[in-house]
């Protein structure tokens, strides 16, 4: 259990700035998810926290004690930080049991005690009986789970997970998520979890940090992040959000009346937002419904997604804009439909500008 404090952290590789003045406070025992597009610096941030890279500027503190930056450099092995690598980093010369048992060996756990805890960890990742295998004899998902088990077997204060479930199917993911939750509850370790799966982040994390090009652009609990994105970029990134221009007719106490493509609707807005006139509206597929009312639109394409279809439509009023709508069945491309706005989020005005500039 450690709290982590990151102050103005910057990391450059040669000329390119990969982390740009990142500040972040992670509470003791918190479960923080890191979301962000590929290459935005998530892994780099994790590696800095673990101690495998040194900051170009800024510093990192564990429980208020500096561990990196400004002359401090606590070596990784002294940080009590477990990490699951994106590339697994299993040791080819060891069996699965030896890989998983390594952290215990380091801590001097021997004999039956070690065997038992290794077996437990392997059982937790649903790989009992794989003790004697070599990493080369495992499937991709099995390797990933061994890497997980290795991390579970130690007793870390901080757990860093770099896309730990990327190669697993839905069911294993679900059961691994359960394992993380239980592990977290049992050990109270501070966990930082990189994932590209938003559902996973939402399901697991206390808070989610959204990163973009080396910066943290929003840090909020899952529900809030989803419901109230603070910028257009986050709005688009989270929950397949689309953004459209609208006219705000009234806005007060977190509720707004807007006109979108000629039709009026009620949406949510920030408590402080009270502007009238032009606005930008974030619309998620679930916010819209195809039916008898609403603005007219044309179906562009339909994507089947199991229990439902995601239908992409373009409003006749503004064919530049593409919106996604959930519908029980796919609709034929070209069909004319009416789309009703059931919900939506009016983006805060100030955020729109930097996002625009950055794009």
């Amino acid at each position: 259990m450690s709290s982590i404090r990151i102050e103005n952290l910057t990391k450059r590789f040669g000329a390119s700035t990969v982390l740009d003045d990142v500040s972040l406070e992670i509470g003791q025992g918190e479960f923080l998810a890191l979301l962000g597009p590929s290459g935005c610096g998530k892994t780099t941030l994790l590696r800095l926290v673990a101690g495998f890279e040194t900051p170009s500027a800024g510093r990192i503190l564990f429980d208020g004690v500096p561990v990196a930056g400004e002359g401090w450099d606590v070596p990784p092995e002294a940080r009590n930080v477990a990490i699951v690598f994106q590339s697994y980093a299993l040791w080819p010369h060891m069996t699965v049991a030896e890989n998983v048992g390594y952290p215990l060996r380091v801590r001097g756990v021997k004999g039956a005690a070690r065997t038992e805890r290794v077996a437990e960890a392997l059982a937790a990742v649903e790989l009992p009986g794989f003790e004697a295998r070599r990493p080369a004899e495992l499937s991709g998902g099995q390797r990933q789970r061994v890497a997980l088990a290795r991390c579970l077997a130690m007793d870390p204060a901080v757990v860093l997970l770099d896309e730990p479930l990327a190669n697993l199917d839905v069911h294993l993911r679900a059961s691994m998520e359960d394992i993380f939750k239980r592990f977290h509850a049992r050990t109270g370790a501070t966990m930082v979890y990189i994932t590209h799966d938003q559902a996973e982040a939402m399901a697991l994390a206390d808070r989610i940090a959204v990163m973009d090009r080396g910066r943290i652009v929003q840090l909020d609990p899952p529900a809030k992040l989803h419901a109230e994105p603070q910028s257009e970029r986050v709005a688009r990134f989270i929950g397949e959000g689309r953004v459209a221009d609208c006219r705000v007719v009234a806005c007060e106490n977190g509720a707004a009346r807007i006109v979108l493509f000629g039709h009026e609707a009620s949406v949510r807005a920030g408590a402080e937002t009270s502007r009238i006139g032009k606005g930008r509206l974030c619309l998620r597929p679930g916010d819209l419904a195809v039916g008898e009312h609403g603005f007219e639109a044309r179906v562009v394409s339909s994507r089947f997604a199991g229990s439902h279809a995601v239908v992409t439509v373009e409003p006749l009023a503004d064919p530049e804009v593409r919106l996604a709508v959930i519908h029980p069945v796919p609709l034929a491309a070209g069909a004319s439909v009416r789309v009703r706005v059931a919900d939506g989020w009016l983006l805060p005005a100030e955020a729109a500008v930097p996002a625009e500039a950055a794009a």
Partner: protein
Amino acid sequence: MLAAAAGFVAVLSLVPVARLLAEAVAPGGRPDLTLAAEVLASRATWIATWHSVKTAVLGTAISIALGTGFALLVGLTDARGKAALTFLFLMPLMIPPQISALAFAQLGGPASPLLRTLGIAPRLGTPNRFFSEGGIVLVLGIQHAPLVFLALRAALRSLPAEEIEAARASGASPRFALRTIVLPLMTPALAAGAALAFVSAIGNFGIPAFLGIPAGYTVLPTLIYQRLASFGPAIIAETAVLSVLIGVLAAFGFAVQAAVLRRRDFRLAGTARRAGGFALGLWRLPTEMLAWGTLALILVAPLAALVATALVPAYGVKLGPGTATLHNFAEVLFRQDATVRAFRNSFALAGGAALVLMLVAVPFAYLVVWRRGRLARVLNAAAELPYALPGIVLGIAMILLFIRPLPFAGVSLYNTIWIIFLAYLARFLILCIRPVTGALEQVDRALEEAARMTGARLPFRLLTVVLPILAPAAAAGGLLVFMTAFNELTVSALLWSAGNETLGVVVFNLEDAGLSVLAAAVSVVSVAVTVALMLLASLFGKRLPPGVIPWRA
């Protein structure tokens, strides 16, 4: 292409040895095992065998310790002056074993120029500590440490940082991670280097000859030499029997290596960042000082002795402002045209052998490691034989093979430079193969598969994917070949002919004629030339893939 590589190795390694073996069991063409039985029944044979094993094992241990230490220092830490350290650490390879033995002996004896200059030379006639088993072991160890170093250095380049980081995140201290992760992962390279050091030690003649014979300490190669000196018609057969014994010892070393590798898996995934730059922190300065101190002992001292010898007019004259002369250099470089010719020949032979062997080693390693052909694995073991044999014995085998004109072709290679070239190819084959196969053990097979799926045929794949990935190891092998062949003494001793002298022959003849000062002068020049070549290589090495020039970062 693979078949060609395999055939090449088979011909070079098996044919000379088979010819010798034929001589052992059928001296002069008549099958007769009494001689073999006689040799094997002799007590001297077994004493020498025991000594050979003992010195080789202990010497290898020293080589491993030194080579590993330096490779880790250069490959993984943030020590300064890595290029210089690497460069200097390789230099013992360039000094022929006889000369290093001599230099070390001089260090310890009453004649030591160093000790005499310091005024602490022991009294005349005091027995020299280096003329002993310990001396042999030490000099063997130092001489062959670069073999371990180079193999390991090349392998460390392909070690992904994540492998170590995962250990440190598990709480392992750098030392613990070194012991449990780095060294085990380096096993193929370590085994390759150790195997090389072991066969080199088993087959070494110069060092035990110089340091062992005065102490009455015989090893197999010196025993063979003594047998050769009996001049009788049976000597070839007798030496052949003893050589077979050496072959068996070498094979034993190889078996150990194979056994070590068989138990484990060492393939590393292909893309990750290279490990390195571990901070030594407070230990940096002491470590660096230790490294430089060791270098001073193992390199500077013998080299200084060599230079000192080359600078005096006659052996035994004390070096001083009044006695120093460049006359010896003038004599060997300008008066004796054989020296310059020998430089040219040795350069061509060593360079040619290095080049050919690097090209053979890659497809051959592919065959052994990835195709896992049984024949290839047998050949892999057999390739060690010509290197394990004392050079003079290999020379005899080559004479037996090539004394008559080649069948069909009708031309004779005997008395041409080509017979030396072939002998070099056979002898140094293993120096190139070991590091390359060791490195390939660690390469993720998927890298080649990815090339196959694009439709690339084998030669193209070898050239564009396998070779560049193995380039550091192949270059290490080529460098080993070049440096050893350039100063090689014993193989060419029997094979040279007028106009085809090698540097080793020149040095040996001068030495043999009691002209040590001239011999030392040639050696100094040859070390200087090698150093110049190495520097030249680093100058042009900018265009080569990283790792090809070991002393470049």
